[in-house]
């Protein structure tokens, strides 16, 4: 092997995922993952998780009330998303799947716009270049290649940005993330493959996705280090991601992070999880809740008091109210927009179809 090829042992994931916070909030120092967060940032992480959960719950309610067609909840995964997204700079790009409300809120992407996909108004409603946050991608794992190409493109002109792509445990079985890791490794693209292992791909449990010792082991075959963290521990997730991001930014190449978490809600609002998992399992998972854990930690650090609690609750409520107002009875899409963005210079035949619809709509009014 040539000298710039790492030894496999350097890439192997640790036997235990990085874990800094116990469920009761006890903090364990880890010299490999020192915390560089001040008090304000620690509170910010908590605030973002609470707001995420509140908006997520609001979205489920909106679906129940017929305002959204479907919704894919991220409940239980707030630490994995907020911790990882918080480790990036604003110039770094995020390529989400369709469950990344938490990461989107870190980037201040308007949740009302994000939910238009689920409302069926349009397929997206945010400009990716404003927040450096890609469009939600539904075909599983396909966005890993976009993140990789984007990172290659940045590296080609020495732009120090890093990209991060989110996918799930199910996504590690698809081909595209593997092709993406192959490309990323070969081109040393500064991309972080962030897998939220939430234990289920709709109903199919992890053991049906892989026989690998852990998902992070998959990275080794592509020359990427495989990291693991407790994905319900926002500090561990942040610290592990931070390290991988800085490594990528300094030119050492891509990395893979497996964040161990649990999807507390159904796959989407169309799903019935009682058919494939027990109440007992859910109760067990609830004990590792990421938000309670961070609250316990902040309390121990004297960073959590009534004033802060009220402030966070108010903000969560306000955001949820804004989302509700923005979605509730919002107009349906404009049918004429169907023709708007398909081609930059549409053909005559295409224009005739546009005119046919316009005429139908005009007829309907008369």
């Amino acid at each position: 092997m040539s000298e710039d090829v790492p030894e496999a042992i350097e890439l192997l994931p640790p036997s235990e995922p990085v874990h800094l916070l116990d469920p009761d909030g006890t903090y364990h120092e880890d010299p490999d993952h020192p915390l560089d967060l001040d008090d304000g940032q620690l509170r910010e992480l908590y605030r973002l998780m609470v707001v995420t959960r509140k908006v997520d719950r609001e979205a489920i309610n909106l679906q129940r009330q017929g305002q959204l067609g479907v919704y894919a909840s991220c409940m239980g995964q707030e630490a994995a998303q907020v911790g990882s997204a918080y480790a990036l700079t604003a110039a770094d790009w995020i390529f989400p799947s369709y469950r990344e409300l938490g990461a989107a809120l870190v980037r201040e992407v308007d949740a009302v716009g994000l939910l238009q996909l689920y409302r069926g108004t349009w397929l997206s409603d945010h400009d990716p270049y404003v927040h450096n946050f890609g469009l939600m991608s539904i075909p599983i794992g396909t966005q890993a290649l976009h993140a990789t190409g984007f990172a290659m493109g940045a590296r080609f002109e020495d732009n120090p940005l890093v990209t991060m792509v989110y996918f799930g445990d199910g996504g590690t079985s698809e081909g595209d993330p593997h092709e993406a890791m192959t490309f990323a490794g070969v081109f040393k693209a500064p991309v972080i493959f962030f897998v939220q292992n939430n234990q289920y791909a709709i109903s199919v449990p992890l053991k049906r996705q892989t026989a690998a010792p852990t998902l992070a082991h998959k990275a080794v075959g592509y020359g990427l280090p495989g990291y693991r963290c407790d994905g319900n521990d926002v500090l561990a997730t942040y610290a592990v991601t931070r390290k991988a991001v800085e490594r990528a930014r300094s030119g050492e190449g891509p990395a893979f992070i497996e964040a161990l978490t649990y999807r507390m809600e159904a796959h989407t609002t169309s799903d019935d999880p009682t058919r494939y998992r027990s109440k007992e399992e859910l109760e067990e998972a609830a004990k590792t809740d990421p938000i309670a854990r961070m609250r316990n930690y902040l309390t121990q650090r004297d960073l959590y008091d009534d004033t802060f609690e009220n402030e966070v609750d108010e903000q969560a409520k306000d955001t949820a109210t804004t989302v509700r107002a923005g979605i509730y009875d919002a107009p349906h899409g404009d049918p004429m927009e169907l023709f708007e963005h398909v081609y930059r210079d549409p053909s005559g035949y295409f224009e005739e179809q546009r005119e046919r619809l316009r005429a139908e709509l005009a007829g309907g009014e008369g």
Binding site: W122, L123, S124, D125, D127, P128, Y129, G134, L135, S137, P139, T142, A144, L145, H146, A147, T148, G149, F150, A151, M152, G153, A154, F156, G175, D176, E179, A180, T182, F183, V186, E337, E340, H341, V342, Y343, R344, D345, P346, S347, G348, Y349, F350
Partner: protein, 323 residues
Amino acid sequence: MAVTLAQAINAALADAMEADDRVLMFGEDVGRLGGVFRVTDGLQARFGEQRCFDTPLAESGIVGTAIGLAMYGWRPIAEMQFDGFTYPAFEQIVSHLAKMPNRSRGTVKLPVTIRIPYGGGIGAVEHHSESPEAYWAHTAGLKVMTPGTPEDGYSMMRAAIADDDPVIFMEPKRRYWMKSEAELPVETEPPRQAVVRREGTDATLVCYGPMVRTALEAAEAADDEGWSLEVLDLRSLAPLDTAALIDSVERTGRVIVIHEAAMTLGLGAEVAARIQERAFYHLESPVLRVTGFDTPYPPAKLEEYWLPDVDRILDAVERSLRY
């Protein structure tokens, strides 16, 4: 000086890369080797390993990273080595390349050109002779072009690279060595215009890509029978130049559509449908199709029985004239 189709496309790639340093060329074996058909010959030596580079052997990876590179601001040209190997990239092409600009309400621009050598007639093994153009033409958001002459090879390739919409550029591989006395650079008609390659009055041969030369040979041979055949080269398969089709039908009243791709739901079906929609009363006989059969592409020793040729075209012309 005589120039082949392969050389003309190569010159177009080089000139586009010279004119715009955001243009990248990548794929399997396109770097040091210069492509298995040498279409990218010399590009890496001239523009460096960052502008023209070899990728891992993974077609979905090639197209998917092209999308990411385009989102970043590059103008990627991605080569699929052969028609039959585009299928691993099908999802990236159909679900993202074609749809992302629309999904993004136009905020994401994907000026990506996918080059695909296609078609048979070179005695190749399985998967190396297919004509998958209908898949792309059926997909909203894609433009599909295919040159039938070296001049178009140059000019249409320049247009494809300059286009801000994604373009599937289908290269008729058995015509790579076809020569012309073209002076490069050359600018031919805009790609979306069909072009009359030969004027005629009795019937129109509608063709594209590898079948342009075959159709011209058939029209030549038909002269001996006293039949005057028009040859219309579509050039762009999406969008289709409906007006040019109607124009020609109004002149000749008879149409034979020719392509290598299998008959059912091939481009010929769309051409026939548009003609009967818009020129029904100008038709003297039904629109006929001379195409590959509805079978998988045959092994090399049998491809002559499968591919449309002059005799098969003339037979269809005769049926049309005697209708």
